[in-house]
């Protein structure tokens, strides 16, 4: 190998060659060819990994704080539900019924999700959890993010993205030609643990306005030298495994993705979104998809679900949260359909845990265990998947989980992302069948 390979990431190579790069041990820069992504064009021409349809996209919506599963997918057909929740139980008459599902229905504020269900775009996966549930927000969220009950290690989506990159295990001397997968994008101030791994650095931003260098506002003549500074990539005098090289790569990433993303989200959406945070975030994701960004994993979070007190029933604070969530996902799919991108996008929604079966003395609910997950998109098996967890056979007042969340991850990885889930979450989890047979 010639010495040129000491620094494979020069700016020139980035801008003029292709997605191809050599040396596998490095974090991989993103958006390698910024000129390649004209607005409105599908990125099919960039399909880079044999056997994987580059067009498929996964959007994760995280409901932070522990969403109360029993008041989300309401088991109105079970008297026990009303006995355990005298103050906050949702009246059976108000529950939005799901055709073909007996005794369970959606909270009345979830009209958005109900419409998706009626259109065959929603599946409700019942009773998802994991053994020996942890009731700490922090710990349980880490467990979901790492797909590991020790809550340690890399993020599961980060590992997935890494596994699509660079040819695992080829080592520093590896000269094989490999293709990079685009880094995942999180809307928020920091990228969640789920997206963090070793090679591909996730992109995150709260607002596209902040995703740019403000120094150029002092003088327009600074723009060009700034571009040159950050577009150098890794210069030849720098050890490619050093922190300096890492920073140079990230700076180049930031520079290139800043342009693309700001251009993408500045376009007006094809549909009206509700004026809520989660709707705004999903509209940005839809805009990036529409602009043809080759990103395959997006991550959106919505907080406030830690409803210890006064959460209300059919109305109230929890109902408001559910309405924001359901209406946003509904608008997102209307937008995707108008873009004709709906078939490319699977959305997966989860929370770090459900809440205890019985309400507490403050008209709220405390940290619990198993809860439903939602999958949305035209590719899902519509309807309710799995039985509702028993309301009488409880584990110290908590629902027992029926399906391990890692089986859901495995199903998504195998059937949607078309990758071997074993390399990401281990061999112990049978992948759940969540999508239509294609």
């Amino acid at each position: 190998m010639s010495t040129e390979h000491k620094s494979p990431f020069t700016r020139r190579e980035f801008m003029t060659t292709s997605l191809t790069f050599a040396s596998a041990a490095l974090t991989v820069p993103s958006f390698l060819q910024r000129s390649a992504f004209a607005v409105g064009q599908p990125s099919g021409s960039l399909s880079s990994i044999a056997g994987v349809d580059q067009n498929r996209i996964l959007v994760v919506v995280q409901l932070s704080g522990g969403n109360d599963g029993l008041n989300t997918v309401v088991p109105f057909g079970f008297d026990q539900y009303y006995r355990m929740r005298p103050g906050i139980g949702v009246n059976a008459a108000q529950v939005l019924k799901l055709s073909k599902a007996e005794g369970v229905g959606l909270h009345p504020a979830l009209t958005g999700l109900h419409e998706l269900h009626e259109d065959g775009l929603l599946s409700v996966v019942q009773g998802v959890g994991y053994p020996n549930p942890n009731r700490s927000h922090f710990k349980s969220m880490d467990i979901w993010h790492t797909a590991d009950t020790s809550a340690t290690g890399d993020g599961w989506l980060g590992k997935y993205v890494d596994s699509q990159c660079c040819g695992e295990g080829s080592g520093e001397s590896g000269t094989q030609v490999a293709k990079a997968m685009e880094p995942p994008i999180a809307i928020g101030r920091t990228a969640p643990l789920a997206l963090q791994a070793r090679k591909v650095v996730p992109v995150s931003f709260e607002s596209a306005d902040l995703f740019r260098w403000t120094g150029q506002d002092a003088s327009a003549s600074l723009s060009k030298p700034y571009d040159e500074l950050v577009e150098r990539g890794v210069t030849g005098d720098v050890d490619p495994s050093s922190n300096a090289a890492f920073l140079m790569r990230t700076a180049l990433d930031a520079r290139v993705s800043s342009d693309q993303i700001r251009k993408a989200v500045s376009a007006k959406s094809l549909v009206e979104y509700p004026r809520t945070g989660v709707a705004r975030d999903l509209s940005m994701v839809a805009s990036m998809i529409r602009a043809g960004l080759p990103t395959r994993v997006y991550y959106v979070s919505m907080g406030g679900f830690d409803t210890h007190a006064g959460q209300g029933g059919a109305q109230g604070s929890h109902a408001n949260l559910l309405r924001q969530f359901g209406d946003a996902v509904r608008a997102f799919y209307s937008d995707l359909k108008a873009q004709e991108n709906d078939a490319r996008v699977l959305t997966m929604c989860f929370s770090e845990f459900g809440r205890r079966a019985s309400q507490n003395a403050s008209g709220g609910t405390d940290h619990g265990t198993a809860a439903p997950m939602f999958l949305a998109g035209p590719m899902v098996r519509p309807g309710v998947i799995g039985n509702h967890p028993s309301l009488t056979d409880l584990d110290d007042g908590d629902l027992k989980h029926l399906l391990d969340f890692r089986s859901v991850y495995a199903g998504v990885l195998k059937d949607w992302m078309q990758t071997d889930p074993d390399s990401v979450i281990g061999k112990n989890y049978r992948s759940a069948v969540l999508l239509k047979k294609s």
């Binding site: 992109v203 995150s204 931003f205 260098w213 120094g215 030298p225 950050v230 920073l247 990230t250 800043s258």
Partner: protein
């Protein structure tokens, strides 16, 4: 091995790290800098004064503090390594305002008095909803006031880091805050956070063992790790576990049984109001066996057992190395032999000096390893380091402390609010594409007063004057006044610590354009442009 001895002459200069001493003339250090020998040298062996360049002085000021001005760098370069390190270590010799315990209000979150408790109990018993509602409102008001006060404590500490003439004291206080990480979010008591911060400052360069005995008596820590609820018969294991896992021994050097027994030793260690209280009736005085030591051990006996373990000194040596020198692999076996030897040497020194910190810090700051090419300019600045370092070294206006705290938070570091008891992971975890923009943009704010959302109202009043940097650089290198390229290279070496063409060429092009109408490159507007570009370079994130 030659050991450095403490310099006998007291530093007669007035606090050079805050004021402006007259620098002694120096010869060009580059001309006397010997080529690093390729033959194997003991990484812990001290650097000779004759080898100590301005680059080394700059490095020392960044790592043992928050960077220095050109003048400060030149002062230390003229002093040489030994005198400079002694000066930085001997913080008590540098006068600076003390921290009074009544700097912040101690009664916002005070516990209710006996009468108040009785009144509340009576109201509850009588179902006196009106009184109960009043108590609730009072509580909420107190919590609101306390949240305002924690913001004041944060701003006060940030200001202190910016102003201190004893940078190593605050740098180590920040180290201890990350080591014994405690978050206001959990304990909701700003005065306890302030007192803990003061503990870290008072012992910043003192004795680690003493710190460990103190931390099991610290109200903020006792609340954070739930030891205030730990009683004989139902011990809470949280503090015992973290005391060994994160504060001293590290994973793998203790057993689950040591945690159980350690938790028993810590029962009854609690606090009332702002004071540590040992509740004898809650303490389990039975026999215990912790880390091979047995007896009716209490918390102090537990800490003593921890300090006797070699693993504690190794854990702390590695932690200091990571903070002050360079990152280390997770596993010891991935460390190269020289690094292992160096870390072992520091660990041995910690034990032999009964955990006095100064000998180890002196050894580190004088070692050849500390000045190795693989160390200098290779560490990613923490957000606090970035912000404080920029103000101190470039002498920008401080502008608004709240804005700086918000920016540090966006970059992933909110002081007094660490993300968990593990503290901040640091290193590359600070960096992603969005934090990188915040890092660049907070420098824009400091240099120009411009915020991403618009101009700061005070920007016009607090105009930054970059000319003072040129004046100071010209003291050592008069050519910077007449030779534009010499000026740019000197600025790059000072600001970024390197002057490669790949870094300088875009800046040269900017200056050529900006001066094409005859303007001087030392025009403050153009100099500010140069600084905006230098601080936006990826390399600026390193120190």
């Amino acid at each position: 091995m030659r050991r450095h001895t403490t310099s006998t002459e007291p530093p007669e200069e007035a606090a050079p790290l805050s004021t402006a001493p007259v620098p002694e003339p120096t010869t060009d250090p580059k001309s006397i800098r010997p080529k690093m020998a390729r033959t194997r040298v003991d990484p812990a062996s001290p650097i000779e004064d004759a080898e100590f360049t301005t680059g080394h002085a700059r490095h020392l000021l960044w790592r043992a503090g928050f960077g220095g001005t050109p003048e400060q760098i030149q002062t230390l370069a003229a002093w040489g390594a030994a005198k400079s390190v002694d000066y930085l270590l001997d913080v008590d010799a540098v006068p600076f305002e003390g921290v009074s315990t009544d700097l912040f209000k101690n009664d916002i979150m005070r516990p209710p008095t006996a009468e108040e408790r009785l009144a509340q109990r009576n109201a509850a018993r009588a179902q006196d909803e009106e009184s109960l509602a009043r108590y609730r409102v009072m509580r909420q008001q107190a919590e609101r006031s306390d949240r305002l006060q924690i913001r004041e404590v944060q701003e006060w500490w940030l200001a202190r880091m910016i102003q201190t003439p004893r940078p190593l004291e605050e740098k180590m206080a920040l180290f201890w805050h990350g080591h014994f990480a405690t978050s206001y979010r959990t304990i909701e008591n700003s005065y306890h956070m302030f007192r803990q911060n003061q503990l870290f400052r008072a012992n910043a360069l003192g004795n680690y063992g003493k710190m460990l005995y103190e931390i099991i008596r610290d109200p903020a820590m006792l609340a954070y790790l739930d030891n205030n609820d730990s009683r004989k018969g139902k011990p809470n294991e949280n503090l015992a576990r973290e005391l060994m896992e994160l504060f001293s021994l590290g994973v793998g050097n203790y057993t689950e049984n040591d945690i159980k027994e350690g938790a028993r030793a810590l029962t009854g260690y609690t606090f009332y109001d702002d004071q540590f209280v040992f509740r004898r009736e809650d303490h389990d005085s039975g026999r215990k066996n912790i880390l091979g030591r047995s007896g009716t051990l209490d918390g102090d006996g537990f800490v003593t057992a921890i300090l006797e373990k070699r693993a504690t000194s190794k854990f702390m040596a590695k932690k200091l190395y990571r903070y002050l020198v360079a990152d280390l692999p997770d596993r010891d076996k991935d460390m190269d032999a020289e690094t292992r030897e160096f870390v072992d040497d520091i660990a041995t020194l910690l034990i032999s000096k009964r955990y006095e910190l100064k000998p180890s810090l002196r050894r580190i700051f004088l070692s050849r390893r500390f000045y190795a090419d693989s160390v200098m300019g290779q560490q990613i600045k923490s957000p606090v380091q970035l912000v404080v370092g920029a103000v101190r070294s470039l002498r920008t206006p401080v502008r608004d402390l709240g804005t700086l705290l918000d920016a540090a938070d966006l970059m992933g570091q909110s002081i007094l609010f660490p993300p968990s008891v593990k503290g901040w992971d640091g290193g590359r975890t600070w960096i992603n594409t969005s934090t990188l923009f915040v890092r660049q943009n907070v420098l824009t704010y400091l240099l120009t007063g411009r915020k991403p959302q618009g101009r700061d109202a005070g920007a016009a009043i607090e105009r930054y004057n970059p000319s003072v940097l040129v004046t100071e650089l010209a003291e050592r290198e008069p050519g910077v006044r007449t030779d534009t390229d010499a000026l740019l290279r000197a600025l790059a070496r000072f600001v970024v610590g390197r002057d490669s063409d790949s870094l300088l060429n875009p800046i040269r092009a900017y200056v050529a354009g900006a001066t094409s109408d005859g303007a001087s490159p030392t025009d403050p507007r153009i100099l500010t442009g140069v600084l905006l570009l230098l601080t936006a370079s990826p390399e600026y994130q390193l120190n």
